[in-house]
Symmetry: C2
Subunit: 309 residues, 2 copies
């Protein structure tokens, strides 16, 4: 198994699902600590309209403040359209994430466009971002199933991936927006993308709605995914409806990796501390386990034969 | 991947971890429904001293009552010593489960004996059970790590497995009592047992303490495990300390298997209903996901290429 990169998306995917707006200073505290913990990327926010999503309204401010600081992690931002790209470029975002939903229903609800039209538009926007000298990651949302449509034809997903590759976009995230993924499916999809182009940097973004999240993440890693998008404490989904869940918990995955001697460069205690603070802030238990249990005391790491092949 | 058998241990491993004693009639309702849902085995209770573990004090009564009924599932009982075996034989238990802890500290706390002495004793007891015409499953507890000792030497685990095999005991459960297992370790241990004897019926019993439970269960299935021990709603561990968790939730695993067209013979709605009732009874959310979310509506099952190889 390759060295796995950790992309913390809690400040964006986690916080945008909460009803309340977290103050900028609180977000900054969480983001700064995670960004210096050793995780590779932290997603600061989303360049969506603040009136449409007040939880993300301070995204530009967050980047302006963080741009004056020095942190170990790369800071990423989510961009939904041309206007969002302008804002991201203006505040100097280095890693810009964009995506298209493989579900026509989901795509129309989010963008007013079919998947096909949205793909053309997002590719054009992504290429603008690259021309501006930024790193761009493109995603396929609802890649493993859709809360509205149910099953999504695998060919639709691979068509979007192929369109990305033809445009020279080789950092691709397969996103399980609704949490419908299961391990065999994730393994196969990651393998298929790598068959299309072995140089693709595949990221897996898996929500744990039905309890298969971590199993699917391991399947993705075993199949050759390079990065996993995770959320502190497993924050995410909608706390008011049970039928939604957050990404796999950052600290649970890092703890698992460290059990086999991987990513020992990440300060797990910092991640646990942040997730404890996030849980305290929202006043409820989050789905993550390790922030509650602490790490396994024995630090013996397993041999290479334990690697996930 | 083979057809996976589901062994529901909630009525034993789940309920013995609760402070209160669940009335026999309530247990009977849950056991009867699960035992007719299509799962293969239901563990009714433990033949421990009632004064030491009042939660299990009605185990003999439960078997006497259930013996007069007809259910789809095999009913199993946990036996810790010779006295327990006598009781299990007397009430006609067909599948008797016994075990030894690979951790000397854990073994002495549970049995007052070293792992070595406990192994000799449990093998003798198991052979008595077989001679009495019962099916016997033997387990290695704390196989993947110990809450007291931390890491457990893999050789200790395989020595116990070898002792079982030499005694002709070929139904073997690897139990992650403390939840220390990680997927690579589980895969390797299951493979090693099957290398010792390909005819062994390997069962995996995995607690989800650190968030790797389902990933480890999938690793066990991919490595050739024949059965998985699960708990309704993921009930188990100690609700008063966070550093303990139950087995992987029965309905979450069955839902995952049904996503790939497996175990469609199991009535998931029944399992979900029982877990909802168990959660309602204890008045708290249980770790399981699917009893809260319901099953994914689309019933399309994936192709054989989705099987977990």
């Amino acid at each position: 198994m390759k060295q796995i990169l950790i992309h913390e998306v809690g400040p964006r995917d986690g916080l945008q699902a909460e009803a309340g707006v977290v103050p900028t200073e609180v977000k900054l505290d969480w983001i700064r600590r995670v960004a210096d913990s050793g995780v590779d990327i932290v997603q600061v926010g989303s360049f969506v309209r603040g009136d449409k999503m007040p939880q993300m309204a301070d995204t530009d401010d967050l980047f302006r403040i963080l741009a004056k600081e020095s942190h170990r992690a790369v800071l990423s931002g989510l961009v939904l359209n041309e206007k969002g790209l302008e804002r991201a470029l203006e505040v100097g975002v280095q890693l810009i994430c964009m995506g298209v939903s493989a579900s026509d229903t989901h795509s129309r609800k989010n963008t007013g466009m079919s998947t096909e039209d949205a793909t053309r538009r997002i590719i054009a926007t992504a290429l603008e971002g690259k021309q501006a000298g930024r790193t761009v990651q493109v995603s396929v949302q609802s890649a493993f199933g859709c809360g509205f449509e149910g099953a999504i034809d695998e060919a639709r997903v691979m068509d979007i991936v192929s369109a990305y590759l033809e445009a020279g976009l080789t950092s691709i995230s397969l996103a399980d927006t609704a949490g419908h993924a299961h391990p065999g499916q994730v393994r196969r999809y990651v393998q298929k993308v790598l068959e299309l182009d072995p140089t693709v940097e595949v990221t897996a973004h898996i929500h744990d709605t039905y309890g298969l999240g971590m199993a699917s993440v391991y399947a993705a890693m075993e199949a050759g995914a390079k990065a996993i998008e995770t959320s502190f404490g497993g924050l995410g989904g909608c706390p008011f409806t049970k039928v939604a869940a957050g990404n796999v918990a950052t600290e649970d995955l890092v703890h698992g990796l460290q059990r086999t001697g991987k990513r020992l460069d990440i300060d797990l205690a910092t991640l646990i501390g942040v997730s404890k603070d996030v849980a305290r802030y929202f006043g409820r238990d989050l789905p993550g386990c390790v922030y509650k249990t602490g790490a396994i005391l024995e630090k013996r790491t397993e041999s290479a034969t334990d690697e996930h092949r």
